[in-house]
Symmetry: C2
Subunit: 488 residues, 2 copies
């Protein structure tokens, strides 16, 4: 998942809006700027189909079995890895088994492979003779390597970019800079995990180049996440053109605290070994599976998640869950014997984590078809309890979706929330005017596991996963059967 500034949950105002909009679509339209009020948005048959899908989602274990297979049997799925390729083949085969039109669409992806990663304080105040303090860390995605035997240097600790700027260049030059900038756990506990992430992730992106500009030989950030279990969080870093590329890693929260504490007492010397390798781009694929529409097959409603994952865990919440609820949507519609007006398209994106090549390549390859891309849903925020749907669309779209939200409200997921960002992979379609959607989920725990070794199958709550499948299936089927075109 990429940075989101918008909060995942922000309930009271929306609840109020919903209470106004839902029971009276036509009345709401009188006050909306919608140019073409329509007498019927959804047929009775469509509404009954939505209810059927919703109920079916709550008794199906299909999505859970998909997550289990992707995580347990295939494992971590970093772009360019054999596991990512196996996942492409697996999802394509599963979709074919449902009788869908399936193809894999070529995407050239980065191929970065993690190496050894160790760090230790060799010198620190009060240490016992012949001892070091081991530090727990992980390389940031895209990091260049240290020499095989590591780099040894003094340590400079700052709390943020501003403090770094106050330091004389000679304090930084030749040293390792540690950015001890904490993820705001209090904010996350309020359900504003996305905002807390957005604040801290700036260090993951920009800290290495900021340090390199001042002559640092390596940069370490404090992990961007809320867990205090000696668990480092990886994620992609971004080297600026105007600075040397230096090795970049993320310390576990505890280790950033330790280094900060000891640096305040005296001189620290660290040995850092990070030996990742960056290879040439390799061929990979988005998996695209269509359930053809009955009356408007050229029009497409996308349901999607990303198939690649980071390599430390097995990518259960990020994002096997998103792929699984998307696969489940087509499974449920098929099993229910429903045939949408428009084409329902499942896409398992490749390379969300370290390049977004799947999303950008798709939008490019299909740009002439974008006017027929009716809507695009992506699930990439885990499988926490959903309370509704975030949407990036014209404000009046909220009103048009009222009847769908009313169905979802019966399982507590009826909120519609206008946001600036939905899913990263569908974002390249936004410039073509395609309305995009993302389930609005309980994000309180997501950032404890996100991008860590602990993003594993057991983190999926089976019932919450079913709830997410219900939200995506109902929204997708509703959009695919909307009697009118959405304003865009």
């Amino acid at each position: 998942m990429l940075p989101m500034k918008s909060g995942a949950l922000s309930l009271p105002r929306n609840l109020l809006l919903l209470a106004i909009c839902l029971p009276a679509v036509t009345r709401a339209q009188q006050t909306s700027p919608s140019p073409s009020p329509t007498p019927t948005l959804y047929s009775q048959e469509t509404i009954s189909g939505l209810r059927k899908l919703q109920q079916a989602a709550f008794t199906s274990d299909y999505a859970l079995r998909q997550v289990a297979h992707l995580c347990n049997n295939i494992g971590p799925r970093l772009s360019g890895s054999p596991q990512a390729q196996k996942a492409v083949e697996y999802v394509a085969a599963e979709m074919k088994a449902l009788g869908l039109d399936v193809r894999i669409e070529k995407v050239m992806v980065p191929h970065w492979v993690r190496g050894e990663e160790t760090a230790a304080l060799l010198e620190f105040p009060g240490q016992a003779p012949d001892t070091t303090q081991k530090l727990v860390l992980t390389a940031l995605g895209g990091s260049v390597a240290t020499p095989a035997n590591g780099v040894t240097a003094e340590v400079v600790v700052v709390k943020d970019f501003e403090e770094l700027q106050t330091l004389p260049a000679e304090t930084v030059r030749g040293n390792i800079v540690v950015f001890n900038h904490a993820y705001d756990k209090a904010m996350a506990a309020q359900g504003r995990g996305g905002e807390a992430y957005g604040d801290a992730v700036a260090y993951r992106s920009d800290a290495p180049s900021a340090a390199a500009r001042m002559g640092a030989v390596a940069a370490l950030i404090r992990s961007v996440g809320s867990a205090d279990y000696r668990l480092p969080h990886t994620g992609q870093t971004k080297y600026s053109e105007d600075a040397p590329k230096i090795p970049a890693g993320a310390l576990a929260a505890e280790d950033a605290e330790l280094v900060g504490n000891l640096a305040a007492q005296g001189k620290l010397r660290m040995r850092l070994v990070l030996t990742p390798q960056q290879f040439a781009d390799v061929e990979s694929f988005n998996v695209v599976a269509d359930l053809k529409g009955s009356t408007d097959p050229e029009q497409v409603v996308i349901v999607s998640g990303h198939l690649d994952s980071w390599d430390l865990g097995t990518g259960a919440i990020d994002d096997a869950a998103g792929v699984a609820v998307s696969m489940e949507t087509l499974n449920l519609v098929k099993k229910a014997g429903l045939r949408p007006r428009r084409t329902l398209r499942m896409i398992a994106w490749m390379n969300e984590e370290n390049g977004l090549r799947g999303g950008t390549t798709y939008a490019q390859d299909h740009k002439t078809e974008m006017p027929n891309h009716f809507a695009a849903i992506e699930t990439d925020g885990g499988a926490g309890h959903p309370v509704g749907m975030n949407l990036k669309a014209k404000p009046e779209v909220k009103t048009w979706l009222g009847p769908i939200a009313k169905v979802l409200q019966s399982s507590g997921a009826g909120l519609l929330n206008l946001v600036e960002h939905t899913g990263a992979d569908v974002s390249p379609m936004e410039e073509f005017g395609v309305p995009t959607f993302h389930p609005m989920q309980d994000s309180r725990f997501y950032f404890e596991y996100h991008h860590t070794a602990a993003d594993t199958f057991d983190k999926i709550d089976p019932h919450h996963l079913q709830e997410n499948a219900a939200v995506v299936a109902v929204m997708a089927y509703g959009l695919a059967n909307l009697e009118q075109a959405l304003p865009r």
Copy 2:
């Protein structure tokens, strides 16, 4: 900390008892079997000293600074390590700085050093070509090593000892046995962490020999702990005389789940590398610091914690906290200008974790003085909020301690709870009739961090640490000034 079967918290019944006992010591004594009812247990001066110590504990940062130094500046303190030796020197120097009579008492301790520890599934159902699944694990303390390049074998998964016994010997022979027996998190969430630990820790102790008896080449348990953050928990294993010693480790909970899930689907092959080394016993020390009693200096009240720790984390909750509140007790008494009737003795025990040599050596070396060991307190359950004191003593001791409990009740820590086990290090004194004590603490989170890399300084809540210091200081000073001898 060693296994405790008794729950750390069990409130309602004790609250009731307390309500009866506290206001009326003499009335309670009429119904107790105490042979010698006494008119005065504590002088007014003693009670006023207790209140003074309690208040002082809540504003002192001395204990917190001790934990910080032991964890951050010295680091992990496994018996036989340079850090353990440094910790001995540090605590002795700090106690001398308070003007106490300090000595270090020789203890021969095991010297086990962790090596490389990796594991991977080489073969499992559905795997991508040329891939393995990495497993997160750690060697159990005392484990023998695999060959340097590891052992590769098929995997047999059982949920408990009973299931192992149902297997034919040829199913186990030559293979790696995984015991996927889960720590009872629901029980721990009720504050019964000690009981949950007692149940699961049987596997840490006995599973390797159980598997070895049936011909296994290695044994892995599911980590004994409640955290789900891909965090393995170490701890001492116990080889039986009647079985070959085989390499023994603990998988993170997630990895035990993964192996269990995949084993149900087909054949698994694992490569396991554990290369710890067991060296000859080495000399180490208990640190003993006395604040001499004014009228009965030969009588001793012990306050203690253990100075050694496991090597994965820095041993903050297990057990720098216990050492720190014991040091703080003497600091507070000194600073308050109080002089106890009996000697207050701080002991920082060596080798609780993997041998208990400190506790057993002390009891042996001082056995002729045991009649003068008036009471012994150990804190070895972290620094969670204390609600009172567990005691292993004659039942009527509860009544005798009522006035102390009444003082502690003002900070919510007035419970007195008779138990079967208090601290491991003081337990060898019990056979000499010495009453032993351990703070009764909130244990809900203790087993998330216990024996893991995440047992670090940041896990200490400064206020809760002060509360624990208050409980220990008040109880110790009260015992040291009791006007009569406790029944024993």
